[in-house]
């Protein structure tokens, strides 16, 4: 079974500073990777996804992520954060298991943007 590790449970950063949220996955085969954002008391919103092709993926709200197969990583970055980016961020990998496709999520990283 695949697993996803988000090393940082919380990341505080000042407004307009850059941020990187780290994600590592376990699979050695081809993977589909996702980043979702969850605002307080809401569901998950898709930020971006890597299915194939270019290893640099651009998403919504100015976020981007880079797929690194050799390091089994899919780190999320934003060059300049805003207060409104304060939220929980989840990295996920799609796993095929017994005829179904399920998402395996990390434990999340809470991004807190400080004024």
């Amino acid at each position: 079974a695949q697993s996803v590790t988000q090393l940082d449970s919380q990341v505080p950063v000042f407004e307009e500073a850059p941020v990187e949220l780290r994600c590592n996955y376990s699979s050695s085969v081809s993977v589909y990777l996702f980043w979702y954002v969850q605002y307080p008391n809401q569901g998950l919103q898709l930020l971006l996804k890597y299915l194939s092709g270019s290893t640099l993926v651009k998403g919504i709200n100015g976020f981007e992520a880079e797929f690194n197969k050799s390091q089994t990583s899919f780190h999320l970055r934003k060059p300049s954060v805003h207060i409104s980016d304060t939220a929980e961020y989840f990295c996920a990998v799609r796993e095929r298991s017994s005829g179904t496709y399920k998402y395996i999520f990390g434990t999340g990283t809470r991004l807190k943007v400080l004024a």
Partner: protein
């Protein structure tokens, strides 16, 4: 276009009771998946349905069941509720069972 909708938004039950949660997928989507998100953790896969058939099941007890209707909406049922069932239950829809999943706002269940 409307996204995934779920009802109710919040629910309070007592131990031993039964609960039914509902999900309407994005128009045109034929697959629905259910996840449980306990406070402070990432979502955990419960079920996936496609074309009204169960495609897969996560590591949850038989107290959890689900079904998908001809209009592709879905219900998740949980019997004999335990305190540990308190969580945010998320529904996700996708065009097919292999496609990208889009999540609804969730139903927050509190078991007392």
């Amino acid at each position: 276009d409307a996204g995934v909708t779920q009802s109710p938004t919040h629910l309070i039950k007592t131990r031993g009771q039964q609960v039914t949660l509902r999900c309407s997928p994005i128009s045109g989507h034929k697959s629905v998946s259910w996840y449980q998100q306990v406070l402070g953790q990432g979502p955990q896969f419960i079920f996936q349905y496609y074309e009204k058939e169960e495609r897969g099941r996560g590591n949850f007890p038989d107290r959890f069941s689900a079904r998908q209707f001809p209009n592709y909406s879905s219900e998740l049922n949980v019997n004999a509720l335990l305190l540990g069932d308190s969580a945010l239950y998320l529904c996700a829809s996708s065009l097919g069972f292999q496609e990208t999943q889009y999540f609804g706002p969730g139903t927050r269940l509190l078991v007392l």
